[in-house]
Symmetry: C2
Subunit: 355 residues, 2 copies
C-alpha cells in the first residue's frame, strides 16, 4: 500500500518496445493440425442472494434474488487428429495463468504447443479466481502494488537487477516486458479445496490424462491426483509444496496439512516426475529466495522417499545434475524449453505414457 510513494509513469514507449516481441518466433515450423479446439468451464459453485429479482428493473442488484456462478476452472483445449491415449492437462502457478504454457518471454512456442505437435491433446487451465475464471464466490481486493522485482528474484532469473550467470532467460528488455505482463492477480479469495474440486472437474472432462503442474499449482495438483482417477501421471515443475501422509509433514512444507495414509497411497499408483532448475544452492545463503528453493528441493526429495517407500514411482530430477544448466523457476518457457521437453519426452516413453 505505497500509493503515496508510487510514481505513476505511463510508459509511452512500452507499446513501441513490445511491438517487436513477436519477431523472435520460430517461423519455420510446420502447420499445426487441430481436430477440435474450444473452451469450457468446469466445476464451481453457485451463490445466491436473498430477495426478489425484478426483471423490469434488472440493474437493481441490491434487491437481491440473484445467483453468481463462480469458483470454476476455465479451460482452453486443442486436440490433434489421432490424439494419443492420454491428454495433457496444464495447471499454472502463483500469479500466473495458462499463458505460462502458451508462449515464452521471447515469443517462441509454448510448452503446450510443443506437445500438441507431438500428438497429445492439451487442456490449459485457469484455476478459480485467475484469468478467464475470474468469477468467484468470495470478494477480492487487488492492490496494484509494484512487485515485478520480487518475482524476478523469487523465480531465480537473478538477484534483481542482476541476471544469474548462464541463465536460460532472455536478457533483452522486450522479453522481460513480456514476462512481467504474463502476471495476473487473484480476483477473489479461493482456497485449495476449491481449486482441487475444479481441477477434478477438469479431469472429468479431459478424461484420462497427464497432469502438469507448475509452482503453486503443485500442491493442489497432488490432491487432484488423489481425488480423481483420470490422473494417470503427474509432471510437476518446481512444485511449491507436497502432500504427505498425516503427521509426516516436514517443517516449512507449503503443501498444507497431510492426508490420511489411505489417501496418500493413491499417489503410489501413478508415475510421478518432479523437475527443478538451476541456481538452488547446496548451503544456506544470504538470499531468502534461494534458501526458499533449497528448502523446497530438500522437501521434494524427502517426499519422494515416502512415496516410494509405499511402493510408488516418484522421481526428482534436479536438472543441473543431469547436465542441464541455467534454468529458472520457469523451466518450461526458458530458452532451452525444447531441451526440457526432450527430457520429459524420454520419461514419458520410459513409463509407457506416450502411446
Amino acid at each position: 500500500m505505497r500509493n503515496k510513494a508510487m510514481l505513476s509513469l505511463v510508459c509511452v514507449i512500452c507499446s513501441i518496445v513490445s511491438s517487436q516481441g513477436q519477431a523472435q518466433k520460430t517461423k519455420s515450423q510446420k502447420p499445426l493440425i487441430i481436430q477440435e479446439q474450444g473452451a469450457f468451464s468446469a466445476g464451481g459453485s453457485v451463490t445466491k442472494s436473498e430477495g426478489t429479482f425484478d426483471a423490469l428493473k434488472p440493474w437493481n442488484v441490491a434487491q437481491g434474488g440473484q445467483t453468481r456462478h463462480g469458483d470454476h476452472a476455465d479451460v482452453l483445449y486443442q486436440i490433434p487428429p489421432k490424439a494419443k491415449r492420454l491428454s495433457m492437462v496444464f495447471l499454472h502457478g502463483y500469479g500466473q495463468s495458462r499463458r505460462s504454457w502458451q508462449t515464452t518471454a521471447d515469443g517462441r512456442e509454448g510448452f503446450a504447443n510443443i506437445f500438441l505437435r507431438r500428438g497429445y491433446g492439451v487442456y490449459l487451465v485457469d484455476q478459480p479466481g485467475r484469468g478467464h475464471a475470474g468469477q468467484t464466490s468470495k470478494p477480492g481486493q487487488i492492490t496494484a502494488t509494484p512487485d515485478d522485482q520480487t518475482w524476478f528474484t523469487q523465480f531465480r532469473i537473478g538477484l534483481y537487477p542482476d541476471f544469474n550467470e548462464g541463465v536460460q532467460f532472455p536478457k533483452d528488455s522486450v522479453s522481460l516486458n513480456n514476462f512481467f505482463r504474463m502476471m495476473t492477480p487473484n480476483t477473489g479469495s479461493v482456497d485449495e479445496t476449491t481449486i482441487v474440486n475444479a481441477m477434478s472437474a477438469v479431469m472429468d472432462k479431459s478424461g484420462d490424462g497427464i497432469l502438469f503442474t507448475h509452482s503453486a499449482g503443485g500442491s493442489p495438483g497432488w490432491k487432484t491426483a488423489i481425488k480423481n482417477q483420470h490422473v494417470k501421471a503427474v509432471v510437476a515443475y518446481e512444485p511449491g509444496g507436497f502432500t504427505f501422509p498425516e503427521g509426516q509433514e516436514p517443517k516449512g512444507n507449503r503443501g498444507g496439512k497431510g492426508v490420511p495414509l489411505d489417501e496418500f497411497k493413491k499417489l503410489t499408483r501413478i508415475p510421478i516426475v518432479v523437475y527443478f532448475g538451476d541456481f538452488i544452492p547446496k548451503d544456506e545463503t544470504k538470499a531468502a529466495s534461494l534458501n526458499f528453493w533449497r528448502n523446497v528441493l530438500a522437501t521434494a526429495r524427502q517426499w519422494a522417499k515416502v512415496v516410494n517407500s509405499h511402493g510408488g514411482d516418484a522421481t526428482i530430477v534436479h536438472l543441473p545434475e543431469i547436465g542441464i544448466k541455467g534454468n529458472t523457476h520457469f523451466l518450461m518457457s526458458d530458452l532451452n524449453s525444447e531441451q526440457v521437453a526432450g527430457v520429459l519426452e524420454k520419461w514419458l516413453k520410459e513409463k509407457g505414457l506416450d502411446k
Copy 2:
C-alpha cells in the same frame, strides 16, 4: 454488498451438470490447419514505487523500488496458411473476455473459429484489466455480488426467469451454466483511453485488419479506428456507445465526449457495419433493459447518418428487418451464429474485405 443476506450454497452437482457441456459440440468438422499460433501482450504502462529494492529480501514489497507492468491488452492469435490480407481482431464487451468469441454457451465453435476456417488470421483480445490482462496500474475491488439475472435480462435472453419467445439461446441448464461462467470481473480501474491505447498497440502487431467489437467494446473500438490506420473496417455487434463529433453527442449516448470533427472524419475512410439482434421494442416498455437497447439502436441510426453525411460508409443492420429473428445481445454465439456469420461474410465480400 448484500454479504449478510447472501446464502453461500456450494453447488455440489455443478461439476456433474457442467461435465456434459461438451456433448453438443460439432464433431464432424474438418481439421483446422494453423500456420502459427501464440499469445502476446500489447501496449501498457509501467508504474514505479519509491524506495530501494533489496534482492536478498525480495518479499519485502513495502520497501519499494519496484515496477508494475500493467494496463496492456493480452492477445491470443491463430494464423492459417495463406491467410487473407486482412486479419480479424476481436474485442469483447462488459464483464466478458475473448471467451465471447471462442465458444458458445452450448459448446459449439466460436465466431473466431468460424472465420479462422474461412482463411482469416484471428487475434482475440482481453482488454486491460480483464482475463489474462489482469495486471493494472490502479487497484481494484471485486464485490462478488450475485448478478447473473441482471445480465440474463440486460443481454435480452429474456426477462428472467422467462426466455424470450423464439430466442436463439439454448434453454437447457448446462448451457446457461456455461454462459454465466464466461463472465469475469474487472481487476482494476481502467479508463477508456487506456483501452484505446492498448487496442492501438494490438493493431500495430496484427497489422491491417478488421476490428470486431461487442457491446461495451464498441465505444473504445471507434476510437481505436480513429487512432490507428491499421483498422481497415469495423464490425460492431450491438456497440453500447458511439463516437460523435464534438457538440453533436445525443442524450443518453454512452460513447462519451465527442471528438474533433477532423478526428471523427477518420471513421469515414473505412467501411463499417453494425448489427443488432431481436427483442428491441419500437416503443417504450416497462422493461428498463429493453428501453436501454431501444435507445442504443436509435443512437446507432443517428450516428450512421452523421458518418455517412461526411462521406462515410456505415450500415446499421437490425437483423429482424432482414428476416433473422430471435437473436440476443450475443449475436455471435447465439444458436444461429453460423447464419449471423453468413450475413457478415456477404458484407465482407461486398466491400472487398475478403481477399
